[in-house]
Point group: C2
Chain length 513, copies 2
């Protein structure tokens, strides 16, 4: 097999972290902004986020959840109560202390000492507290329940070590916040949101995930139960790609969220919260990217098909462009995966080969290159991004009749969507070790000197408190964490390899982002 | 004619400002957040914003403009240069000075003195500077032009006197920023954005607007030309509902936005920017609201039709709900105004009359009340929000056969859309005085002791510099401003009533928000 000359300078095998950065840069998804920890999300990266937003928001609305918008700033005093009551309260936040600038007399600007705020304002790290207060105002009786709200917003958590999409000081997300009459209804909503995240990951992003409950030590501070979807990256690490929390009545008590029930009694609400962020895009890259750049599943691709006319800056260009424009129109009039096909005719100046590699690196699912002779002969030259190379090391263009391609285009896109999921699922499943029964085995699995150790699925006794803390410390010594307990309800037997007690459930253990 | 008992406690005539606040509160659009100058946008208000976003974003994408996302924070030093060069640079901004909180030992939290930022960060009042710097990085050659970007984001400008939607410290908007090879292309884009705003205002929000150029003194600081759409509120004041700026090469020079032209020369780009904000919703209220609350044009209504079953909490409810659900399904399967009809079956507990008035105040275009007998007889009872009252002071419900209504529903919504625009245009046109030829006449028009003086359209000589400043001061004494010079190109004659020189164009003079 001939040596392939890949589009990126670094391969996943050589340096996964450097490869990740190169994909982001070469696919023109995002870049450093010059502001510490904040990124500029460029059109291709933002377009993917818009697709995720659209597909998730449709599900959010279908579930009867209503979007709202809450203030960017939260008064400092709102956090004082939380800091007292909640263990693990994070204090790394952006603090606004002044509301005006003045000239410093040396050509610069400084915060105006006369414009110091009486009470500092915090840039929201999450809107839990303000939304809780709003719910307390909005809910009077059982008729107002359930109250189902969601917000699409930017939030800020000061991070010392940042990595684009995965951990940035400012990030974009949605946060759902709901209030219910009782535990059952709140738990139903918690799991509905979790199932929605599973669908977005699996069906839209083509990322296979494990749906499960986080262990006690990994719960959202103050939550009664935290659930997550966990995805495996190509380096074998886990990424928590979305969480949903059942908060019990604790948050309702702190915010005073009460309702009059049918018997006239004042009763505390049960609340939930759930969120997914631009981190999901980091997962997309690390699951589907290859040594030629990104590969975007058609459902979340801002453009699904790009048509590249081989312009020659001569008289033939006009005929060629007309042919391409007609093709574009016919494709745009078709549907694939339940929506009109998103197709771009890239007429920009530049060499066709160079433009091709730009789109390969961006990971557009299908590329059509069309020259003057193709136009004359009613042909197209089709490149599937997930089948980029032939065995002989050449780019895998397939010549096809234009009408034949038009008939198959939707099916082809659906096939790319399925193929990317299949490939990721196969890889993940091959990298889950289900045979480990003792600590030595666990250590050996993760100690092996290979790049992709994957995950271990093991049986345990679900210890709590100090016993759990001992497990956490044992794992920490190997840089491992418990990801979650899968909700699939598969039977479990044997003993817990940490406590020696009878196992009651399984957990996934992995290194994680 | 019988006295009508309106749904609001304050009428427009009695107290326009109090009426405005009551509409916002009773239509459940927004409320004070407890954070100075920031509002909570509630589902109905946010739903309208989502509709505006959707309809405008479709046009933005169709024009080839790509959405990006830029950082919330901008380093202080970025503003120092702007403060030096730009007259009218606004300094009321939120300043972040610390990145961590610590406990103060007295149960409270304070900014950690150890976590003071080396350089303060400003919460973006607009993204002009960061986007300019990004453009300087992204643009190398003429092949990269035009560069067309847009951002949907929250921005903060510290305001001492706030009013919901119209002037808030934090608001939501879109900001378009584009770079071009020459003046002509930049001007074309400036006017394309302006025309897009006109369409959104007229076609979507049913708000008639005057499209024109702002006078020199009202230009965006640093702009070569600023254009606006101006709408007339029901109190006769003007509201600037959107602006588009041609920035020349000044901003490109400050940020270093240059390109290599086809001859290999480094050349400055010509840039534009354009924006519309949640302020538009304030305009919607003040143009279409009446003494019973809001009236939302169908195109931007989060729900266009609400079905209210008259539930009796007895055995008949099941049949009634099934009838309503079938009706809902049939309506949702239809299209009106180019999109699937948005219809809600409101099954919440509560008295039907109370629920009706909730929806009247929210201004949903069509309300269907359906009781058990209607269901049995295949009937519906239809209320058009824009024809709420009969002459005898009763609510204007019209009984109709269900099938007959289904056939007409789309047409009815289209008619409401048209009727609201027609009503607003008629009122506005009646309140524009085009007969004023001298200053005394202008003073008399605005001095008249009536609630709705409206606008004056007058001819002037387009003075600049000190001569313009004299006009501005004259108008200011009457709390008047020049809104814009209409671009309709109608001929003009006579002399300027300010300068006595030959008139060259017309301007609108008005009180404004």
């Amino acid at each position: 097999m001939t040596q392939i000359r890949h589009a990126l300078s670094v391969t996943r095998d050589a340096d996964f972290a450097a490869w990740y950065q190169e994909v982001i840069s070469e696919a023109e998804m995002a870049e450093e902004s010059g502001v510490r920890g904040c990124m500029v999300i460029k059109p291709w990266g933002y377009g993917i986020w818009e697709r995720i937003q659209h597909l998730m928001d449709t599900r959010i609305k279908a579930a009867g959840v209503e979007n709202c918008y809450f203030p960017l700033f939260i008064p400092l005093s709102y956090f004082a109560k939380e800091a007292e009551h909640v263990d693990g309260f994070a204090k790394e936040m952006a603090v606004v202390t002044h509301h005006r600038l003045i000239q410093d007399g040396k050509g610069g600007l400084i915060p105006d000492p006369e414009a110091k705020l009486e009470e500092p304002l915090i840039v929201r790290p999450t809107s839990e507290t303000v939304i809780g207060q709003a719910m307390a105002r909005w809910i009077q009786s059982w008729r107002d329940l359930p109250l189902l709200t969601n917000q699409w917003a930017n939030v800020v958590r000061w991070e010392m070590r940042t990595r684009m999409f995965l951990r940035t000081s400012e990030f974009l997300w949605q946060e759902g916040h709901t209030a219910h009459a009782d535990r059952d209804d709140a738990m139903k909503e918690t799991l509905r949101a979790l199932e929605m995240y599973r669908q977005v990951a699996e069906d839209d992003l083509a990322i296979p995930v494990v749906v499960g409950e986080k262990p006690e030590n990994e719960r959202f501070p103050g939550a009664v139960a935290t659930y997550s979807i966990e995805a495996m990256m190509q380096d074998g690490k886990a990424l928590q790609a979305g969480t949903s929390h059942y908060l019990g009545t604790g948050f309702a008590e702190a915010a005073g969220i009460r309702y009059q029930d049918k018997d006239g009694q004042q009763t505390l609400c049960h609340t939930t919260s759930w969120g997914v962020s631009t981190r999901m895009i980091g997962g997309l890259i690390m699951v589907h990217g290859d040594d030629d750049g990104l590969r975007v599943p058609p459902r979340v691709a801002p453009q699904q098909i790009v048509i590249l006319p081989m312009l020659r800056e001569d008289d033939g260009d006009e005929t060629l462009l007309a042919y391409c424009e007609e093709l574009r129109g016919k494709l745009a009039a078709q549907s694939a995966l339940g929506e009109p096909i998103r197709v771009l005719l890239d007429k920009r100046a530049g060499k066709a080969t160079q433009k091709r590699w730009t789109w390969v690196k961006k990971g557009v699912p299908l590329i059509l290159e069309i020259g003057g002779r193709d136009a004359a002969g009613g042909q197209v030259s089709v490149l599937r991004r997930d089948r980029l190379w032939r065995n002989d090391g050449k780019v895998n263009f397939i010549a096809q009749g234009r009408d034949e391609f038009l008939v198959q285009a939707a099916t082809e896109l659906e096939d790319v969507q399925r193929a990317l999921h299949g490939e990721a699922a196969e890889r993940r499943n091959a990298q889950i070790n289900r045979t480990i029964t003792d600590l030595a085995g666990l250590e050996a699995f993760f100690a092996e000197d290979k790049r992709y150790p994957g995950w271990a699925e093991i049986a345990w006794s679900r210890p709590t408190g100090a016993a759990l803390e001992a497990v956490v410390q044992t794992l920490k010594a190997h840089k491992l964490t418990i990801r979650n307990t899968p909700l699939d309800g598969a039977p479990v037997s044997g003993t817990c390899l940490f406590t020696g007690q009878p196992a009651v459930e399984r957990i996934y253990v992995a290194r994680a982002y």
